[in-house]
Symmetry: C2
Subunit: 297 residues, 2 copies
């Protein structure tokens, strides 16, 4: 079985053909940015899907940041795509291509992919974090995705770590996403140095080359993310945590510190069994397509 | 059917006979404090159970703060009962009374009672908070208790709201329990005024009589609890939140402010359907006994 998987992120949409063994072929992408509107996204999706349709997929699976209405297929808004509002993704694509469309939060999709094809496939329960422009979260227990209300479960990026802290794209202050994400690092760096860093890579290059401000911001971010993860672990007691997303490429700059801080903050009974791993690079696309590969409940 | 329900708290253990319709009779209590040891608890339990045995209960249900091992029935430790360590509750009581013993986190018990007999019985999912000496948390979805790993699920009291903040009984800094609980209010008040308040009631009386320091501490606590609740709601998207425990008696002093702060921090889609209610005063006892009233899975 083959399905189209689409991962809508803040800087690009990625699409590919995904087999039910988790293999991705014909991957393509379409650029997005802060100026992208409903129409930008729809025309990008048309272009991406058009190219994949000849391969006879069973349907189109889409993941995007939320808040959203998963069942009716509407992207309500997104902290890092400020011009997108109430976008009826499912209705538009179903009408245009005559194929079934399934929709979920992007981090929930990544969670699904990881729990089907990744290291956590035989864990009892797993928390998934997408570390990219923002932070997404997902949770799978006994092979079942915890979607939450209308697909809005496990929005770990929008949990508070600093009361009245830095302004987040969601409008609230002090979310962990404002301290540990590409957008967060860029904003904090601009505040403290006056310098714009167009890409997350630029930020990590500065950390690497000994830039004190960048290092401070990363350390603060690690501390914030460790506490946000502590909170989630003390709530749902996962057997492990899997990290995916672009920022994991810089894992060597923060991973050890993050794990140490997290572990030292946990109840020993939860810490002892906690596994930590880096996930599949294409988890977003694979997971979106996997919405079609789940056993019917 | 009748079972014994026992609620172990930091200042007392309460026990009663509970019918499978949720009615409590023959309620008794036994005082506990910071000096209570394993032996204090065991001798208190013996005394409480002895008095209820003649009524032919089917078993003894116990709830206590954690961390714990629910299945094997061991209380590992507790932030507010510092002398209690690795207490084999289940084994001791089963041997002594020849009755089956079931054990769970106290807030999980309260969650169970509320979901069976309380306002939330027909809600899709509900987060439960016990506001007492500490803060406990529980979660029920579609009638099923989320126990977590070995009964350690939803320890909301030990989620961080102020990084490197006030020291909590659990040893970590900045837990919400250090800012909004009897022990938390008392410790914060002592720090800022030098005055010991033996009871939570004394603290709320000071708030009521216009004491500025007490009011400031309560306001700070409300802010912290609102953010901790935001975090839990953004993770598991409950249809409602039910509060139980002694501090709910002072709800008129903080409830409205707490609800306002929480609601203004949530994604609109989650805020709109969120219900907030005060639960049953005997939820702890009823829930512990209810461990015997659950349908076998």
């Amino acid at each position: 079985m083959i399905a189209i998987g689409i991962d809508i992120g803040a800087t690009s949409m990625k699409a590919g053909l995904v087999s039910d063994s988790g293999t991705v072929t014909k991957e393509r992408s379409f650029p997005l940015g802060e100026g992208s509107s409903n129409e930008t996204i729809l025309s990008g999706l048309r272009e991406l899907v058009q190219n994949l349709i000849p391969h006879k997929p069973v349907g189109i699976g889409i993941g995007s940041p939320g808040p959203l209405l998963a069942d009716s297929g509407v992207l309500l808004s997104s902290a890092n795509l400020p011009k997108v509002q109430n976008l009826p993704l499912k209705a538009c694509l179903e009408e245009e291509f005559g194929l079934p469309v399934l929709y979920q939060n992007d981090a929930n999709c990544a969670a699904l992919a990881e729990s089907l094809f990744g290291k956590s496939a035989d864990w009892d329960s797993c928390l998934f974090l997408t570390l990219g422009t923002g932070i997404g979260g997902g949770y799978v227990e006994k092979g079942k995705l915890f979607g939450g209300f209308e697909g809005n479960g496990f929005e770990l990026g929008h949990t508070t770590v600093v009361i009245d802290g830095a302004l987040c794209g969601c409008g609230h202050k002090g979310c962990v996403e404002a301290y540990f994400s590409s957008r967060g690092f860029q904003n904090r760096y601009r505040e403290r140095s006056g310098t714009d860093l167009p890409l997350a890579k630029d930020f990590f290059q500065r950390v690497n080359s000994g830039d004190k401000v960048a290092k401070e911001i990363l350390d603060e971010g690690v501390l914030c993310l460790a506490e946000a993860l502590r909170n989630a672990v003390h709530l749902v007691n996962p057997e492990g945590i899997v990290f995916v997303g672009g920022i994991t490429e810089a894992w060597n700059l923060f991973g050890e510190d993050l794990e140490k801080r997290l572990r030292s903050s946990l109840f020993p009974i939860l810490e002892k069994r906690l596994k930590i791993a880096i996930g599949l690079p294409q988890a977003g696309i694979v997971g979106a397509a996997s919405l079609f590969f789940l056993p019917k409940v």
